[in-house]
Symmetry: C2
Amino acid sequence: MKNIMKIYLAGPDVFLPDPLKIAEAKKKICANYGFMGIFPLDNVLDLSNLTPFESGVRIYQNNIKLMDDCDLIVANMTPFRGPSMDVGTAFELGYMAAQGKPIFAYTNDNRLYSDRVTKITSDLDENGMSIELFQMHDNLMLEGAIVTSGGVLTTNSVQLEKYYTDLTVFEKVVKIASEKLLS
Amino acid sequence: MKNIMKIYLAGPDVFLPDPLKIAEAKKKICANYGFMGIFPLDNVLDLSNLTPFESGVRIYQNNIKLMDDCDLIVANMTPFRGPSMDVGTAFELGYMAAQGKPIFAYTNDNRLYSDRVTKITSDLDENGMSIELFQMHDNLMLEGAIVTSGGVLTTNSVQLEKYYTDLTVFEKVVKIASEKLLS
């Protein structure tokens, strides 16, 4: 019997007011397509007697363990506190890429990166820094990693109230992953 | 004879108006401390006949090759287009972390992450998303990776005009890396 493939569910979802609610919804979708979803908050850690900084390091090390145990990643690349995705999630894409694991992702903002950055000219931002013009949805390291790993990015245009919770294109990309990896 | 250790010079420096200028300055500092600095733009790629998207993927694959060839990373974590660091650089931290390579970093903004995010309460941002309170300078995956790898983060408070170009704490962290890895 083949072991069920585990998906690391990366994203700023952990910062939602009720992160366990979206974790359950995502896991249910994963199960519907033959995967097991693993959420960063799945392990309950004992952080008593730790400083805030030590707690952060402990959570980091736990997330690393969870990623090592997963077969692929499905990342929420919806922009977070700026034109780009959450940096913790970007780190996790890099971590999984180095392990040669497939990278799938979705975003609830389907505009290209260059259309989201505040600019003064077509390719310069307000600080005079160049804006990437690769027809990608974020920095090239991210979409480059997805394509190179054989994964897919699904995109959507979602109203602000559901910007971090709408799972339409999450389900879509999990379905594509199941077709690519499980059939 | 021991091979010279190579540092992957990660950061949004590639988006500066004259990226090769800072590349040269960083490489000189690396050499002064016994390292060889490798900059993402070091390989000249033939991107003719490629679409913008294909060019982005090609640059991604080249950066991966450069990282695979480096022994450690020194990342510029100065905030970029928002409260967090550049997402491409965050990806690269994750990539090097997965390879077990030492991660050193610096930032020209020494405020804690929680002091940089626009908030409505002490731990909620304007979209109602939780703000990490780990006394760290960015998302816990980043400073967690630095500490766990045996690396160090140096910080500074730099005036806006030199926010992306001041190399004071870059030099400081390269010096620390040389003391830790070369002695």
